[in-house]
């Protein structure tokens, strides 16, 4: 019977069925972070339950780490207890920790693929809603809460209800300076923030095939912003080339054997999905959010929409977003003065993200009065960027160049904006107060963020580069 790739991965990993009807799905790779892990360690200790497979479990310090050069446990005092508890919990349980000073420390969703810890066709869990980032290498990943984290530590399985299948076919070719970030924002705008609830999304189509792996990760990262349970891109030769030689990936004969299997990982041609959506990417321009949820999106050349013209379901949210964002209907997005720019987070902090942003910034200066930050997604990315001289490009232009971590995505490490500031950010959530009390967040691609930092206002990168902005 024809099946989808999701079905194949699910069925292979299905250990059994619990009395309550939930499937027990084996988790091949589990990655913890310090904000949530300490609860689970304490719970298991109290229940005297051991970690079943510490060798399949990894841990990072990412949510609360300071980004200031020369940082240590105490640079962000509100994170100190979390970092120490993580260190103790992983030591007691024999779990490999990428600690604050580890040369490979970073955001879990960046570190796991770049070290080859997650693999095509593997299942993956992180106590974080952006777990499906690694769908970009063809892994099936689930975000989870703290209780589920403890459950996975004790059993190495998740007890899940089988989700529905949605295929998002992204057709056409992206224009220059249009990226996976823009595609994802447009898709969320079309489907709404709850549009993929209960579904695992397979991203397919020519536009996806043409995306480098890092962009596929950006695409899959934003899957949760339309409510998706998980999201992935079937692996292909580009994936295998990207993974080859990474330290935790299989090597030599094992690599050959894995590769032969991975080449079979795709949905059958006549497989049926519970839902299908398509998006034509040919005419897509850079996108930017104007509101307080990631579905409130417009093209960079557009004006802020008029709630009166919206469907009733979206009107109230738009009106409340306008009040928070200090915008009025009909205002052009391009030209809105900003105070801050943040380039980073699990969405857009990998080396190619920094490369395209640096291309925009090179030989230019951040506009007067703008606070602009670049925070690499991992210490590995940071080192590679520095080897390529990107840190100099950013610093010379007036950017802060930080140590790796989640930073201003949710501000859990103290990196936040000031009340009333307008920030163009490459992150994933423009929720009220997320980047600091009363901070107004506009989500956009690294290139749009970089161009806006230079101009001091929301800017169409294509116009900046052509000298028209």
């Amino acid at each position: 019977m024809p099946g989808t790739l999701f079905d194949r991965i699910w069925d292979f990993h299905r250990v059994g069925q619990r009395a309550d009807g939930r499937d027990l799905i084996y988790i091949d790779r589990h990655v913890l972070h310090e904000l949530h892990a300490h609860h689970a360690f304490a719970q298991l200790e109290k229940q005297r339950r051991p970690v079943h497979r510490s060798d399949l479990t990894f841990a990072v310090q990412d949510h609360t780490v300071a980004t200031k050069p020369g940082r240590d446990d105490d640079t962000n005092p509100s994170g100190t207890a979390f970092l120490k508890a993580m260190r103790e919990g992983t030591r007691k349980n024999g779990i490999r920790l990428f600690d604050i000073d580890d040369p490979e420390q970073g955001i879990s969703h960046v570190v796991a693929p770049e070290l080859g810890i997650v693999l095509p066709g593997a299942t993956h869990a992180v106590p974080d809603s952006h777990a499906s980032t690694v769908g970009g290498v063809g892994a099936l990943a689930f975000g989870c809460g703290t209780s589920e984290l403890a459950h996975i530590l004790a059993t190495q399985v998740m007890a899940l209800k089988r989700p529905q299948r949605l295929r998002a076919t992204l057709e056409g070719r992206l224009a220059p300076h249009v990226s996976a970030k823009d595609v994802a924002l447009r898709l969320i705008a079309e489907l709404s923030v709850a549009g993929a609830r209960g579904h695992v999304v397979e991203y397919a189509g020519a536009a996806v095939r043409a995306m480098p792996i890092e962009q596929r990760m950006t695409l899959c990262n934003l899957n949760i912003e339309m409510g998706g349970r998980s999201g992935f891109v079937a692996p292909d030769e580009a994936t295998f080339t990207w993974l080859a030689g990474r330290p935790y990936a299989p090597q030599d004969e094992m690599w050959d054997r894995a590769l032969a299997h991975w080449r079979s990982l795709k949905s059958d041609d006549d497989a049926t999905f519970d839902r299908e959506v398509t998006l034509d990417c040919n005419a897509l321009e850079p996108q930017i959010t104007w509101g307080t949820d990631p579905s409130q999106v417009a093209g960079i050349g557009d004006r802020v929409p008029d709630p009166a013209a919206m469907e009733p379901g979206r009107r109230a949210a738009a009106e409340s977003a306008f009040a928070y964002m200090g915008l009025s209907p009909g205002t052009p997005l391009v030209g809105l003065p900003i105070n801050r720019v943040f380039i980073g987070s699990c969405t857009n902090s990998r080396l190619p993200d920094l490369e395209v942003a640096a291309q925009v910034v090179r030989a230019r200066r951040v506009a007067e009065g703008i606070v602009a930050m670049v925070v690499p997604g991992s210490s590995t990315v940071k080192r590679e960027a520095e080897a390529a001289g990107l840190d100099r490009v950013f610093r010379d232009a007036g950017f802060f160049w930080g140590e790796s971590g989640c930073s201003m995505c949710a501000g859990g490490n103290g990196d936040r904006g000031q009340p009333g500031e307008r920030c163009v950010s490459t992150t994933n959530r423009n929720f009220e107060n997320r980047q600091g009390p009363k901070v107004r967040t506009h989500l956009a691609s690294p290139e749009t963020a970089a161009a806006s930092a230079i101009a001091g206002r929301i800017t169409d990168v294509r116009r900046l580069l052509s000298g028209a902005a």
Binding site: V15, D20, L24, G79, R229, P247
Partner: protein, 208 residues
């Protein structure tokens, strides 16, 4: 986990769609590992700029100070997977959320903690919401998971659906890990099969 059988409390209406976990349990300055979940709940919405309570926020109104049932819109609990968005409800004795739909991870977190997530279809949700607004905190409602009914003043009664397995899990306060550990033999034999079929999945090694 504390079993959920029935809960009698005042019901408060927070009639927005897509209420996210950043709103429910904001990340502020962490106070260390022992957070104050009680004051975390809707912390930003509850407070005015000077730090005083905002009297217009529903849970600050005198009649809803002890609300134990929350009525809300679509896709409740969107966003971050943080379980504090459930713990902060429980810390305020809110043990039932009646919504039109829930975000997937939030609903799972509810079931892990004995917080009853009830999803109602549009007609039932409209009826219950109207009643909650009319009652305005003057009388409690009772949510009974055994009979799957919500009762309230003036003989108000409404049935609700929940997956039988989720119902039993809440009623009995079952230990989720304990349920799965009964399958440890299957887990071990799966690991053996996987180690033969796709051995790279069952090992992790830094090749350097």
């Amino acid at each position: 986990m504390e079993p959920f059988v029935r809960h009698t409390a005042v019901a408060a209406a927070l009639l927005h769609d897509d209420v996210n976990t950043d709103q429910i349990a904001p990340v502020g300055n962490h106070r260390g590992l022992k957070e104050d979940y009680k004051s975390m709940l809707f912390m930003r919405a509850r407070k005015r700029e000077d730090g005083s309570d905002d009297p217009d926020f529903v849970l600050n109104k005198p009649q809803f100070r002890n609300a134990g049932i929350l009525v809300t819109g679509n896709n409740f609990g969107a966003g971050s997977s943080r379980e504090s968005a459930v713990w902060s409800m429980l810390a305020n004795n809110i043990r039932v959320i009646v919504a039109r739909s829930f975000a997937d991870i939030y609903r799972e977190n509810c079931l892990q903690n004995g917080l009853l997530p009830i999803a109602l279809g549009a007609p039932e949700a409209d009826a219950f919401t109207a009643k909650v607004i009319a009652v305005d905190g003057k009388a409690p409602f009772t949510v009974d998971l055994e009979t799957q009914r919500i009762g309230g003043p003036d003989d108000f009664a409404l049935g609700f659906e929940i997956a039988p397995a989720d119902r039993v899990r809440l009623l009995e306060g079952l230990d989720d890990i304990g349920l799965t550990l009964k399958h440890m033999a299957e887990i071990l034999s799966w690991e053996k099969r996987a180690a033969a079929a796709q051995p790279w999945l069952q090992q992790t090694r830094d090749s350097r």
